[in-house]
């Protein structure tokens, strides 16, 4: 991989700090104020709200970044509606895909449907929305971003998007290890460990992308 053309938009770094901060505050502030964390104690409505808010934030921020790199911006309303439906459709398909994946990994099949759906909504809106926006929901862009080992990420935005997605999914994966423990805590209920795992993972993803980007930038400066 060569990083000679490495470009770094400073805004993405501010956005990353902001989004990390918002996730950490959701997780940590209730404790510092001495109240029960709704995300951990009453799970579903709180999780849903959090994923909605985070999803909207990410959409707002990443579309601003995306607008400049986009191929063409259509002004036509019907074209815009088409694109919107396309995005919503992709989002729904992603949710359904993750729902099936969770079931394959051992989530209850028929019972706890809402919980599992909420979890898949959470993971898609927290860790997948940036990638969806950046790749404009094109499968080819996705494939070359994630699976083409020769290209890799070429700028800070792509790096961030990749880190967030991978770390979010890994966080969910590691979070599930807390479920079988016999501690009998209320936060061990399905899907709370996974939700927390996603939150922590996404936060780590944003932070790590900043530092990896800095590292790459310094190396580029050193050698070029």
């Amino acid at each position: 991989m060569d990083y000679n053309n490495w470009s770094c938009d400073n805004r993405i770094i501010y956005y990353s700090y902001f989004l990390t901060g918002s996730i950490i505050s959701v997780l940590a502030i209730p404790y510092s104020m001495g109240i029960k964390n709704p995300l951990i104690n009453t799970s579903i409505p709180a999780t849903f709200t959090q994923s909605c808010v985070m999803g909207i934030l990410e959409i707002l921020l990443f579309t601003r970044l995306q607008r400049e790199t986009a191929t063409k911006s259509s002004t036509n309303l019907s074209q815009k509606l088409k694109i919107l439906t396309y995005y919503i459709l992709t989002f729904t398909i992603c949710c359904a895909g993750f729902h099936i994946l969770f079931i394959l990994f051992g989530a209850p099949i028929f019972s706890n449907f809402i919980e599992t759906a909420c979890l898949s909504f959470h993971i898609v809106s927290l860790s997948l929305i940036p990638s969806l926006i950046i790749t404009e929901c094109y499968i080819d862009n996705c494939l070359s971003l994630y699976f083409d080992s020769k290209i890799g990420s070429r700028n800070q935005i792509e790096l961030t998007v990749k880190c967030v997605c991978i770390c979010g999914i890994l966080g969910c994966w590691f979070g599930s290890f807390a479920i079988p423990l016999d501690w009998d805590r209320d936060w061990q209920e399905w899907p709370i460990p996974c939700v927390i795992g996603i939150n922590v993972g996404v936060a780590i993803g944003y932070l790590s992308s900043i530092f990896i980007g800095k590292f790459i930038k310094s190396n580029v400066r050193k050698y070029v």
Binding site: T69, L104, F105, T135, Y138, L143, S149, W173, F177
Partner: protein, 894 residues
């Protein structure tokens, strides 16, 4: 090279053996000071009752006892009696392992059973030295003890019974005749002609057999319970016929049974047993009912009733309420407590200090009768409980030194095995050999020494210590250099590129051993393996996509070379998906994706079949649904899965036909047991034993044909046949799933360029064998070992064949996947030394996880769950280690 391997294997073997002997002290003895049974203590002791009947119903759970006065119960007589004040209805809590033989020892000696007793249960019960117990004490006192029931008692007490009728215990499938024989014997003994016994012991084992075969919710269970009730009624009527108020009837059970009908573990269903005592002298209100007491408390109680001394190693405490009605004088009454307390306090060093307070009260009571008797009684009970708990703690007496050296040896052994290829220096190798030989032999000698007397410092032991220290210090540099080379993980994977897959293989292994740190992950280990396997499927998917993307890129290289921004390339160049389409790769693309999806769905289905572990054990699963009254569905599932297996394995050779015959015979075996539907009732006229033996014959011929043709496929085939016979019928579908997985994995390895990476394949098959093991309903609990498997096709008891069958049944998953691995590697026509290496690699994985587990055990040895959760896992580790070793030996010597 070979010598290094041998050193590694020997070293680790010795280490495992040492850890085992340190962790499970085989001959533990409570340190007893010589008890003085002088004339003084004997004079107050008198026999309180005339006749004692102890009826032991094997496997009876405390919730099988009807509530007193219930209208519609299976045991109307008993429930009627329980509603009277002349009964005591208690719950006796048994200690794990809840298996018959250790429980019988506990019920007669009052000792807490040693964990290893279960290991000897099937093999060496005759050679057991049981120690002092109330039966041989009563025998010494000239009492006549009659016995009828399970033969285990006769092997434990060959001389003590004046009259005994034993029934063959271990043929589990027989649950009617054995109990009829016992009932006939009871009729004889209750008649006046033979009525000269003092103690009558009855052991019914049919109920346990029904539990093993069909579970506690079986329709046979109510019938069996009413049969037991009828027996109780007869005994009761005869025993209390003459209005003899000094007779006592006891109903006990050795252990309960889990919801699956097995036992051995520590769950309440298995440990809570009924303890019912009937005597006309009792006058207790029902508020005392169902109090939980320790099951071994029955031992000092029986001793008090019979007027004999308490067994010296007893840990039980007297149940006052049983003895009290028979003792007239209150001064005498307290002596029973004092005797029990004295006996207990001799068991531990500071026993007398604990007892001091109670004795003070006792002496005060003797001199001055104003003191309330219940206060003294209370003090005694409190002190006795304290002493008993303390003694139980002391029983788990580990030999730490031996354990630690064992673990070090296992580590060094596995290090040597790991570095096998990289040690090229001859002199280094020689020194290695010497050092390990010295350290191994000296530690072995030390082990035998320390187990007897550690504290005693003699010249010999001192010499051994010095020798050990020297050899260890010599071997340290070697160990260190070995460790250094292991940390360069690249060298281990020398033959292969180190990439994402290798990294994930290592991570998966690290996670699987790290999970042993938590007791709940030892209980729920299956979750880890299912999770890892499912993730491996995803890893395949990612790797395949990466490969496809890279190849499509090289196809479009001329187009993309100039294009910097791939996002703009969408319209100008053919997309990746289009490239697939154009190159005809689109088809394989979807086929592979579908295959991975099917594999994932299969695993999801697989984990639904048998719930295992502890937390979700009782949730309903497909296996339960099929077994409970769904014979036709079960038959359809079995037939279709047998057909699928046969289709997948059929290659047109004659041995394949033999395999088909084997499957048919296995089906006939299950149908002749009325477990499966059969089109021709003629089939059921033959005994199941005949079918099972014919099935063994066909699979043995398969096995020998594989030896003749050197085709490992036949070994797997014969294993499949045996599996369809010895596994439960609903588990045949799991063998079917494994066959499908085997075929599909082979294709997947080819599609993802993994077929040359045998270390990865070895670890992957290791994961698969664990997945199959747990999905068969097995777990890390002793209760999951299905004793039933040891009696398939065998009339009566055969120690050799029975234990062989039990071994195959327990290790079925490991054996199946190892031979599948062998088959796969031979298909890839890998050179023999590579195959050997990959099997050694699996052995080494087992060794490392074992060593890691042992290291965890050492600090956790006083953990509350050590005997219920951690110790069984040690046993399972050792069992799997043995079969891994066996497989390695097969691969190396054929």
């Amino acid at each position: 090279m070979v010598s290094t391997k041998i050193v590694g294997v020997l070293c680790s073997f010795l280490g495992v053996f040492m850890f085992f002997s340190g962790f499970f002290p085989v001959n533990y003895k409570v340190e007893t000071s010589n008890r003085i049974v002088d004339g003084k203590t004997i004079e107050y002791r008198s026999r309180l009752i005339n006749k004692l009947v102890i009826m032991l119903v094997d496997g009876m759970r405390s919730d099988m006892i009807p509530s007193p006065g219930a209208n519609h119960s299976n045991m109307p007589f008993l429930s009627d009696k329980l509603s009277l004040p002349t009964s005591l209805n208690l719950i006796g809590v048994a200690q794990a392992p809840t298996v018959t033989l250790p429980r019988l020892k506990a019920l007669t000696t009052g000792r807490v059973p040693s964990f290893l007793d279960i290991v000897w249960q099937n093999f060496a019960s005759a050679a057991l030295s049981i120690g002092e117990n109330w039966i041989n004490i009563a025998f010494r006192h000239g009492m006549r003890i009659f016995f009828t029931g399970d033969e285990t008692w006769l092997s434990l007490f060959p001389d003590e019974f004046s009259h005994a009728t034993g029934t063959k215990a271990y043929f589990v499938q027989n649950y009617i005749e054995i109990d009829l024989n016992v009932s006939v014997a009871i009729e004889n003994y209750m008649e006046t002609r033979y009525n000269d016994w003092d103690v009558l012991i009855i052991h019914y084992s049919g109920l346990d057999h029904i539990g093993h075969l069909f579970g506690p919710r079986s329709s046979l269970m109510p019938r069996k319970l009413s049969e037991m009730d009828e027996s109780i009624r007869r005994i009761y009527n005869q025993l209390f016929l003459s209005n003899d108020n000094n007779n006592v009837f006891m109903l006990l059970s050795d252990h309960g049974m889990s919801e699956a009908g097995n036992h051995g573990g520590p769950t309440p269903h298995e440990t809570e047993t009924p303890l019912i005592i009937l005597s006309p002298k009792f006058n207790y209100s029902r508020s005392m009912n169902r109090e939980r007491i320790n099951q071994i408390d029955i031992v000092p109680t029986i001793c008090a009733l019979l007027g004999i001394e308490i067994p010296s190693e007893n840990l039980g405490t007297l149940i006052g309420r049983v003895v009290r009605p028979f003792v007239a004088d209150s001064g005498d009454w307290l002596r029973y407590f004092k005797e029990n307390a004295d006996q207990l306090s001799a068991l531990i060093p500071n026993g007398e200090d604990i007892l001091e307070h109670a004795l003070f009260f006792y002496n005060k009571f003797q001199t001055n009768n104003s003191l309330d008797i219940s206060t003294v009684e209370y003090e005694f009970i409190k002190a006795m409980k304290l002493i008993s708990d303390d003694a139980v703690m002391r029983l788990s007496n580990y030999d730490m030194f031996v354990m630690i050296t064992g673990v070090i040896l296992v580590y060094t052994g596995s290090l040597v095995l790991f570095n096998d290829q990289h040690i090229n220096n001859i002199s280094f190798k020689n020194s290695l050999f010497n050092i390990f030989f010295i350290s191994a032999s000296s530690t072995a000698l030390l082990a035998s020494q320390t187990t007897s007397q550690m504290a005693e410092i003699s010249v010999l032991s001192f010499a051994f210590h010095v020798g050990f220290a020297l050899s260890l210090s010599f071997s340290f540099p070697v160990i260190f250099s070995l460790m250094k080379s292991v940390f360069c993980a690249r060298r281990v994977w020398k033959t292969e590129e180190f990439d994402f897959i290798s990294l994930f293989t290592i991570i998966s292994f690290a996670l699987s051993i790290a999970s042993y740190g938590s007791s709940s992950f030892v209980e729920e280990e299956h979750q880890v393996w299912y999770h890892l396997y499912q993730t491996f499927n995803l890893v395949f998917l990612i790797r395949f996509t990466v490969i496809m993307c890279c190849t499509s890129r090289t196809d479009n290289i001329d187009v993309n070379k100039t294009e910097n921004d791939v996002f703009h390339a969408v319209n100008s160049t053919p997309s990746i998906a289009n490239t697939f389409k154009n190159n005809g790769k689109y088809f394989t693309f979807y086929i592979v994706y579908c295959a991975i999806f099917i594999l994932m769905v299969l695993l999801r289905f697989q984990r639904l079949i048998n719930q295992t572990g502890n937390k979700w054990l009782d949730t309903p699963d497909i296996g339960d649904w099929l077994v409970d009254n769904n014979q036709s569905q079960l038959s359809i599932v079995c037939i279709s899965s047998i057909i699928v297996i046969y289709y997948l394995r059929y290659e047109g050779r004659y041995s394949d036909w033999l395999m088909g015959v084997g499957f048919l015979l296995a089906y006939c075996y299950h149908s002749s047991l009325n477990l499966l539907w059969t089109p021709f009732s003629v089939i059921n006229h033959l005994s199941p034993v005949v079918y099972a033996r014919l099935c063994y014959l066909s699979s043995t011929i398969c096995l020998f044909s594989s030896l003749a043709t050197r085709n490992s496929r036949d070994i797997t085939n014969s294993l499949l046949v045996i599996g369809s016979l010895i596994l439960r019928p609903h588990n045949i579908i799991l063998i079917c799933i494994s066959s499908i997985q085997h075929v599909m994995n082979e294709q997947l390895f080819a599609a993802t360029n993994l077929s040359h990476r045998y270390f990865f394949i070895a670890q992957f098959y290791n994961i698969l064998s664990n997945v199959l093991y747990f999905s068969l309903g097995m777990s890390n609990s002793i209760a999951c070992i299905d004793i039933n498997a040891a009696f398939i096709g065998i009339n009566g008891v055969s120690v050799i064949f029975g234990s062989l069958l039990l071994f195959i049944h327990t290790n079925y998953a490991l054996l199946y996947w190892s031979f599948s691995l062998l088959e796969l590697l031979m298909k890839y026509s890998l050179p023999l030394n590579k195959i050997r290496e990959s099997f050694l690699f699996i052995l080494n994985l087992r060794l490392i996880s074992m060593a890691f587990y042992f290291t965890l055990i050492i600090p956790l040895r006083h953990h509350i769950m050590v005997w219920t959760v951690f110790a069984p896992k040690v046993l399972f580790h050792i069992i799997f280690y043995a079969s891994n070793l066996f497989l390695c030996a097969i691969v190396y010597f054929t």
